[in-house]
Symmetry: C2
Subunit: 323 residues, 2 copies
């Protein structure tokens, strides 16, 4: 059975609102450095009122990965809910302009397009306060043979489980994709997200998920240990291919008996760490779609990750890898 | 009579949509490199469909200057029309978050907030295609004793004359501001704009305008000569203080018998030339508001201009001058 696209992403469709802040600001709003917190519409309004001048660009974890994958030359499609508003138009434009097929139309009657306030500290660390808006309206009826199609890889993000119908939506998507011959990949999003949905993620990995993307804190949360090596060993034991990123220490890819350690690519100056993991996943999956070896996939992932942290914003600028 | 703010800007309120392009793209859309062309709603939609992934941020020439001035610590207010939409909210937020008073509410019933498609070439040159939208709806009734107040400086941009009521709007604003004891400053926008409104600009300089900001092509267009030195001499002869920027060659400030040449500040890498002139004007006017000498004003202008071309976007990031 021929695949219609190499990568199908299913995730929360989000526009990022990026601003530089100092650590006093994070303390004043009660946001731990590096955290992602969900906020409601009123909190989003209040936070935006307090924030400094900002820049807006399309974001969302798996949204970034899908865009990066398409930017590298892969064929991709995307499922996520935006509203019929200007932020929704930005999100849709940025996907379409990379050739990504959008499988859902903009929703017209309910909450506005989601936005994540990305607060960038002087050292490049990012702290996110996310208002899910239209993302909360994704429903099981959005997932069907038409919208899933026949991807080579279906990539889900853990954050989808935070939406009201997330468990049914992801369950249906994984089932349909697996039946269509897809590899199901899961990006764990963040360690707090893993704690919120621990049982669901473990069950998915014992079931349809064949590939996991996680950073060190996420895999340790999932494997219930404070020791990274132990977490990696336990991840290997699941039989699932796990690509585990460790910031400056590079990444480790485990798959049953296979274990490959990939060094991080050298970075001149960290500008904004937003999207490092998403870009790694894009590079890794692009290599995978080309039938590359695991070390080659990991190397391409590292290269994309190091490129994105040297710019502001989570999506690679065109030509960023040429430098 | 005490001033209520140091700087009041009156201009087209615009959100920039920035994207990297190659020169083939510019040729395909028939846009001369470095030009600013006005486009209508249908052209804007078509262009956006053809453009790659983009970043959105508040812009507009004098809008950038007012934001930069406030970022430096000056007190500022702003008159410009935005719609009651998400781009209007972005524009208003970015001004308010710098402490800038907005003197007009968002317009609610007509065209959407203006956007300028800023197409950035690999060498940092920018080409702009601007849809004026809500900006075209500014009317003489928007200009009155309340909205003008008592600024130390009223700064107008040439682009305002491109709007349907521009001549009446600017005429009324200059008259009220001068009556309130303000210095009236005019930023010439671009050389094509000078050609479109040559008689009006000359008349304004013979009348209420006491200060002009221009680059070399603009002042040569206004003074009807191909020779910069001759243009500067003629500018000096008007008796108006003219701050004339020349990209890498720095700037020249003339005022009657006074003439000061300011070298450009060293620049490591030109990333995006958008806003260099606007940032120069912000720095110059900030020095002026502090009672600094012309050479000191020019030096601060140069410093701001060189800082802004080393980042993407036309408004200085917080802390950009600390580096």
């Amino acid at each position: 059975m021929k695949h219609d696209v190499q990568l199908l992403g299913l995730s929360n469709a989000i526009v990022d609102i990026l601003a530089h802040v100092d650590d006093d600001f994070l303390e004043a709003i009660g946001a731990p450095r590096g955290s992602m917190m969900l906020i409601d519409a009123a909190q989003a309004e209040s936070l935006y009122d307090r924030m400094g001048p900002a820049t807006e660009m399309s974001g969302g974890s798996v949204g970034n990965t899908v865009a990066g994958f398409a930017n590298l030359g892969g064929s991709a499609a995307y499922i996520g809910r935006v509203a019929d508003d200007q932020f929704g138009a930005i999100f849709a434009h940025d996907m379409k302009s990379l050739g990504v097929q959008l499988r859902l139309p903009p929703e017209t009657r309910k909450a506005p397009t989601a936005r994540s306030h990305v607060l960038i500290s002087p050292d490049g660390q990012r702290t996110m306060q996310t208002y899910l808006g239209a993302c909360t309206e994704i429903e099981p009826t959005d997932i069907n043979e038409i919208t899933i199609g026949r991807p080579q890889v279906l990539l889900l993000e853990g954050y989808i489980w935070d939406t009201p119908h997330g468990p049914e939506v992801t369950g249906k998507a994984m089932k349909l994709a697996a039946a269509a011959g897809a590899t199901v990949a899961l990006s764990l999003s963040d360690d707090q997200c893993v704690l919120r949905h621990h049982a669901a993620f473990r069950s998915a990995i014992e079931g349809p998920v064949g590939m996991v993307f996680a950073d060190d804190t996420e895999i340790m949360a999932l494997m219930e240990t404070d020791d990274f090596d132990q977490a990696a060993d336990r991840a290997a034991g699941t039989g699932v291919l796990c690509a585990l990123t460790r910031s400056a220490e590079g990444s480790v890819v485990v798959h049953g008996d296979q274990r490959h350690v990939q060094a991080a690519f050298p970075v001149e100056k960290v500008t904004d760490t937003t999207g490092a993991g998403d870009a790694y996943t894009a590079g890794f999956l692009y290599g995978y779609s080309q039938g590359k070896s695991l070390p080659d996939c990991a190397a391409l992932g590292s290269r994309c990750g190091s490129a994105v942290i040297q710019q502001v914003g989570a999506r690679l600028e065109p030509g960023a890898l040429a430098a």
